[in-house]
């Protein structure tokens, strides 16, 4: 009996070592930070976008589309807020290699998604689903700016070499088309969706500065400490002004 117990403990110990030695697999273990982006104050009325001069795009909408600077969800939360780990990762941390490209689609003369994150070196597949001329201007500061056109249905890959929050993207042919990309050296970011929630998972234990960025309402920061496989909640509130 004692032999089994020692052997069992030894086996468990070996397995623990195996898990530890295999490197930090963020996707399958680690802590999680979730939260909701709340919005207080009067919901701003967003201007309608006049697409009458671009019938290919206009036809894709039942109701006239509106500007996307501020998207307040039905439940009073704020969408398109980019939440990310600003500081706190160990110096030895190395991001896993990007699995697949992130697709930025120009559809209905709008960028989909409007706000998103990208790993440094990860391929951004810029797709033109409209089949009409768009140009994509990336106004990076740490990243080299670029300005490329897509005169019809096509996909152009680009990468970003430096961490930068955020790089504004715009189309000059359609002045309302704007997007923002957060380029980071790690995958610990999320964008609040139609229910205002975000989730960052797979974090190694530590104390982190989390920043929430909104294109009109600015940034808010919070400090969160996590360990093991903890799940912590951190909400942010932006106020109308």
């Amino acid at each position: 009996m004692r032999k089994v117990g020692v052997a069992g403990a030894f086996a468990v110990g070996l397995m623990a070592l195996a898990v530890a030695g295999s490197g930090w697999n963020g996707a399958q273990a680690g802590a999680t930070i979730t939260g909701t982006i709340k919005f207080t104050g009067a919901k701003p009325v967003m201007a309608k976008i006049d697409m009458s001069d671009e019938p290919v795009c206009k036809a894709k909408y039942q109701a006239p589309p509106t500007k996307e600077d501020v998207v307040v969800n039905g439940n009073g939360t704020l969408a398109n807020v980019f939440v990310y780990v600003k500081a706190g990762l160990p110096a030895t941390y190395k991001a896993p290699a990007a699995a697949a490209p992130v697709v930025l689609d120009q559809d209905g003369c709008r960028y989909h998604p409007h706000v998103f994150g990208l790993l440094v070196g990860q391929t951004l597949s810029i797709k033109n689903s409209d089949g009409i001329a768009h140009n994509i201007k990336a106004k990076g500061v740490k990243n080299r700016p670029f300005n490329i056109s897509q005169p019809n249905t096509m996909t152009t890959p680009r990468t970003f070499t430096a961490s930068e929050v955020m790089v504004p993207l715009e189309c000059n042919v359609h002045g309302w088309m704007k997007a923002s990309v957060g380029v980071l050296p790690h995958p610990f970011f999320a964008v609040s969706g139609t229910d205002g929630s975000f989730k960052i998972s797979g974090l190694p234990p530590g104390t982190y500065t989390i920043e929430a960025w909104h294109e009109r309402y600015g940034v808010q920061t919070a400090t969160v400490t996590v360990a093991g496989a903890q799940a912590k909640t951190q909400d942010f509130t932006f106020a109308a002004h």
Partner: protein
């Protein structure tokens, strides 16, 4: 006026260079330098043509993959489909290479260098080493401009006219390094031109043979002289503007950037103050050489030689006060528009004088249509069309409609291609025996002429109609506009003819290259011409003459009653001729 000329056999002291490098590469012999310019410029002429063919593909077949386009990178033509940003690079670099690296060096770098000492009876240029430097600066400029095609983001793309602030700000143009390299290249090229001009002017004033008075100089030399003065005064303005642009692009000045207090119109004034004399630089030498060739082909003196000289001077002088006609719609004070319009209307007059004098030369001549004569007569015919179309745009109200349309593109190609390039085909054929000791094939020269003449007119004449309809310039896809859709078949027709025009140039290229090795050995004076160069062997030796000849008459004494032949060389002494007096300083009387 008495003129000073160094006629002592000074060049004789310089030994002919030995060794491949000193003889062919780092040569100070004006003839070798002229031929170096020839090969450099013909290369850029070809490159400019290749860029134009890509433009015409996109215009004729918008959005379709270009045959062979697969070799272009994804940033220019993914899947062979030309992108808008590549298209405007093509537009920009076609104009840049053609104006600065093909036509200008072909007319000036080649023929000023090659002809001036030969036609004046000099051993070489006044400053042979500065002459060599002039070529190598042009070569460096060309290599920088060529390199700009291959840098990340690609070449400059604001049109060959490089209007600011588009050209000054990479956040607006999408290209940073390519734009800067354009500026650097132009500064180097300006230096080359200025050095060349110094040489040409000095040589013409000082190094004429005894008896070669001002009014016995051939019109080719007169036109090169006036052109050199234009170049000396105009290129520094371009270089200065390019340096200002480079400063805006690199060290944070804002000459042309409005938010920081700069003015876009300043660039336009500087550029066109250079740019208008530049277009006369691009036509006057052609006119001069055409005069020589037409007199020869007509077997008749040039009609109105003195008028021709005064017309060249008038064109050059007036050329300084018309630059605003490129800016009628620019937002410039409309009163300036009026003054520039009047001066522009007036500048048509000396060109008209020249045209009538060429016709007068042919009138009652004994016309011999060798290949150079065919090109020279075509020059007159095509240049006239270009000149007449210029009158439409000189009339400011009409310019409101046709400015920045294909009407302008038609005009500029009629004067630069129908004019300058046809003259160059003729001139290259004419002086080829003097350069290389062989004749180009007459038969293939005629075939090339006819194919070029026909296709060239089919390409560029309909552009007048495109412009009248309002077809704008530098438009990647005309089918975006309802009013241009009905014109698209004409665009396609023009493109197909352009491809055929380009293909026809292979005949000239092959004729040129093959004749270097297999051409008929040239007699000393194959065209039975009067110029001094034809008294030398073919090719002419280093130092040209062992003994500088004396000149007894003007260059156009064809069908003179004094002799039985229908030509009478400038240096042939008749019993009735006196020796030109040579003063102790060496000046002719």
């Amino acid at each position: 006026m008495t003129t000073v000329a160094a006629t002592h056999d000074v060049g004789h002291g310089e030994h002919a260079p030995s060794g491949f490098w000193r003889k062919y590469i780092f040569s100070t012999d004006h003839k070798t330098i002229g031929i170096q310019f020839l090969f450099l410029s013909l290369f850029f002429l070809l490159l400019g043509g290749i860029l134009a063919m890509q433009m015409r593909w996109q215009l004729g077949f918008p959005g379709k993959p270009m045959p062979g386009g697969g070799i272009l990178p994804e940033s220019m033509a993914p899947g062979g489909v030309i992108l808008p940003e590549y298209y405007i690079q093509l537009v920009t670099m076609h104009g840049t290479f053609m104006v600065f690296f093909a036509i200008m060096p072909l007319l000036v770098g080649v023929f000023a260098n090659f002809l001036i000492p030969l036609k004046l009876g000099a051993h070489d240029m006044a400053f042979p080493r500065i002459n060599m430097a002039s070529f190598w600066f042009a070569f460096a400029a060309g290599m920088v401009m060529l390199a700009s095609l291959f840098v990340p983001e690609g070449a400059a793309r604001a049109g060959w006219t490089m209007y600011a602030p588009l050209s000054a700000r990479p956040d607006l143009s999408g290209a940073e390094l390519g734009q800067k390299l354009w500026s650097v290249s132009i500064v180097l090229l300006g230096l080359s031109s200025i050095l060349g001009s110094l040489n040409y002017i000095t040589t013409i004033i000082n190094n004429r043979a005894p008896g070669m008075t001002w009014f016995r100089m051939p019109l080719s030399v007169w036109s090169l002289f006036i052109t050199a003065i234009l170049g000396l005064l105009a290129l520094p303005v371009l270089s200065g503007a390019a340096i200002m642009l480079l400063f805006d692009q690199t060290i944070g000045t804002h000459f042309f950037d409005p938010p920081a207090g700069g003015q876009p119109l300043l660039w336009q004034h500087l550029f066109w103050f250079f740019g208008h004399p530049e277009v006369y630089i691009l036509i006057l030498p052609a006119m001069g050489m055409v005069s020589d060739i037409i007199a020869n082909g007509s077997r008749k003196p040039i009609f109105g030689y003195h008028s021709m000289v005064f017309a060249i001077i008038a064109i050059a002088f007036l050329g300084w006060i018309v630059w605003g006609h490129h800016m009628f719609m620019s937002g410039m004070n409309p009163t300036l528009g009026s003054s520039f319009m009047i001066s522009t209307m007036v500048i048509a007059v000396p060109s008209a004088i020249k045209t009538f004098n060429w016709m007068g030369t042919m009138w009652r001549g004994n016309l011999r249509f060798h290949v150079p004569m065919m090109h020279a007569v075509a020059f007159v015919a095509m240049f006239v069309i270009g000149g007449l179309s210029g009158i439409f745009m000189a009339a400011t109200p009409v310019d409101m409609h046709i400015h920045d349309t294909y009407f302008i593109v038609a005009h500029l190609h009629y004067v630069l291609f129908g004019g300058s390039l046809f003259a160059l085909f003729g001139a290259i054929t004419y002086w080829y025996p003097k350069m290389f000791g062989r004749m180009m094939s007459e038969r293939w020269g005629k075939i090339h002429f006819w194919l070029t003449f026909v296709f060239y007119n089919l390409v560029f004449f309909p552009m007048h109609n495109l412009g009248m309809a309002g077809h704008m310039r530098r438009i990647y896809d005309p089918t975006q506009y309802d009013f241009l859709k009905p014109l698209q078949p004409l665009n396609t027709f023009i493109s197909v003819c352009a491809f055929l025009l380009f293909a026809s140039q292979a005949i000239f290229a092959l004729n040129f290259i093959i004749s270097l090795f297999r051409g008929q050995k040239a007699p000393q004076n194959p065209w039975l011409d009067n110029g001094l160069e034809w008294t030398l062997p073919n090719p002419a030796p280093h130092g040209n003459w062992a003994q500088i000849p004396s000149v007894y008459r003007g260059p156009y004494e064809f069908s003179s009653p004094e002799v039985e032949e229908d030509y009478l060389p400038q240096t042939r002494k008749l019993p009735t001729d006196r020796e030109p007096a040579v003063l102790s300083s060496g000046a002719p009387s």
